[in-house]
Symmetry: C2
DNA sequence: GTGAAAGCGCTAACAT
DNA sequence: ATGTTAGCGCTTTCAC
């Protein structure tokens, strides 16, 4: 149980190279005040001994852990994992590592995980989340202690966090607009959970597009889902059972769109011949759904990269003000939308 | 840039509680040799000051980082993310954290990431990978240095790592057997990359089931994919273009199965009426594919949990011998397989 | 350009 | 049951 790390220390390298430990430290940290010849000698000693600096000792002495915390909500959602992939890449490029805080915890547990991350002296926290917050006290406190927080997927109005996200109002607008441009006027929509910021925004975009086209907003054509396939299926079943007329659906993510298509099919309705459907995300599976799904692409990997870049920037320049960066979703036209024709 | 961690130290807690540093340490570490009343007093001081032990200092002094390394290959593959989810849960239950080593690196980069993880003194490494190894020198060396390695998704024959995986030979056999039981005898298969252990094993199970049924193995009915939707699509296109007769397909994962179904459909072939298809994984999307995909379910989350449990066990009981734990895949029957009938 | 001394916050081993 | 003394391996500060 009592583990041993019989590793080479800076002391041994110093001895091997015939210099003091500071000189080794300087070489390791790429300081400029080392004679080229000395540097060379030290580097050889390092290579010969296979020396690796001990990050914990370094962190303790320098008060920098070069570690970031990642808190995310749902690794079953490909959007989240793609953001994570981008985040991880970017961190490594800057010499940082991510600690996996939690991937599926209840909202109530978040402060606990944050505390654990603090013990580990993470220098910043990336929060990939959808929303569902009423209070962000623990996050504010964290940032107050000098640990910057960057969020993706949600934000508290007025909270001083850097936010990197997709412009979901615009995305919802684009999706709905595409349907309207194809002549549809009775457009059902399946939203994500109402307490998600992205769901609210996409819905707002939907309403805006409707209003611009002079179409009345009809609440009975709205279903709330949970982002999962099954919830899209259920939402459309419910709308169908109400016997409402509609010719198109805007599902707020691809998975719900695919679930919706299955419900439609089971009711004898073909997509896109009878009903047009547009999704959101552009998951890999969207292209291979039947029919291939028209959707809005979110640049998830870029978002992860940008968020991490911002986080590191804030760590290294604490005076940097929090900012908001909104990416645009891109309309991907495939085969699930057809011009409207009355039946 | 020079960060500050103006946090409460053990010293301040000691002062506040009127005891020595040692006593605080004992309370924090739940040692039994503290008088209940003293313990109480210390705990109050801790609460009052909001003290959080510094994990780096702890790690340096105790030589235990309570940190694990995670190296994985592809977060776009839901199987990998589900394993990660399970791993992360289990780690937290034991008071460990995972550092995200790399999620998409080239095989050549792995030693580099391992080295970086070593600098951080991870106490063990979980490798979620598919294969593609000819040498595991760096892993062997790591384990030789007392850092246990647990793998999922692949193993080197004879390498002394604990392996937690699915019995893919059995899984491949079950899938093929299900097709044979439905009267199919000309069964195409789409494999993963040949250098993946799981692909090899599933193929071996396929061959075994064929042989048992007295069916000759026909190499022209085999296509190699990359696990992605598109590669399943391409593999079936290729087989179709050769004008070979077959009535069923075993795709080694769901995504390739879905891609294959699209290729079939574009050639005017309906699933399951003309061709039966079975996948592997049971991703959420399998149930909502059209038709709903019959497949083999892998207990991915459990595998992640078990792998982490084993890893921690090896860390805490270094004498523990590596072992292999194979889970069974479970046949999920849906609507993509129909009994054979000649056309 | 290089070295010596001090200390980061904690635990381990020994005291008492 | 509690305190004292040494470090863990490194960076920092300040000499030279």
């Amino acid at each position: 149980m009592s583990k041993l790390f019989p590793s080479i220390t800076i002391k041994q390298v110093a001895q091997e190279a015939g210099v003091s430990i500071q000189t080794v430290s300087r070489v390791v940290n790429n300081r400029y005040d080392v004679a080229p010849e000395t540097r060379q000698r030290v580097q050889e000693a390092i290579a010969r001994l296979g020396y690796q600096p001990n990050a914990m000792a370094r962190g303790l002495a320098s008060r920098r852990s070069r570690t970031l915390g990642l808190i995310t909500q749902d690794f079953n959602d490909p959007f989240f994992t793609q953001v994570t992939t981008g985040a991880e890449q970017e961190a490594h490029e800057h010499g940082y590592f991510f600690m996996l805080g939690s991937v599926c915890c209840e909202k109530e547990e978040e402060p606990k995980y944050l505390r654990l991350l603090t013990e580990r002296h993470v220098e910043g926290v990336l929060l990939i989340r959808g929303g569902g917050f009423d209070d962000a006290d623990h996050l504010l406190k964290l940032q107050g202690h000098g640990v910057p927080v960057v969020t993706t997927g949600f934000y508290l109005p007025g909270a001083p966090f850097t936010v990197i996200d997709v412009d979901n109002i615009d995305g919802g607008w684009q999706a709905t607009r595409h349907l309207i441009d194809n002549g549809h006027r009775q457009i059902a929509t399946i939203t994500g959970p109402k307490n998600w910021k992205s769901a609210q925004d996409r819905l707002q975009g939907y309403c805006k597009a409707l209003a611009e086209a002079g179409i009345d907003y009809n609440e009975t054509l709205l279903g709330e889902g949970s982002w999962h396939h099954r919830s899209g299926y259920g939402a459309i079943q419910a709308i169908l059972s109400r016997n409402l007329a509609f010719s198109a659906i805007f599902a707020q993510n691809d998975r719900m769109a695919i679930g919706a298509i299955q419900a439609l099919r089971q009711h004898g309705l073909q997509v896109p011949e009878n009903i047009s459907v547009i999704g959101y995300d552009d998951l890999p599976e969207a292209e291979f759904a039947s029919p291939a799904l028209s959707t809005l692409r979110q640049p998830a990997v870029e978002i992860g990269q940008a968020a991490t870049r911002e986080l590191i920037h804030q760590i290294e320049s604490p005076e940097a003000a929090p900012r908001q960066l909104l990416y645009n979703a891109e309309l991907i036209v495939r085969n699930s939308v057809l011009p409207y024709r009355s039946m």
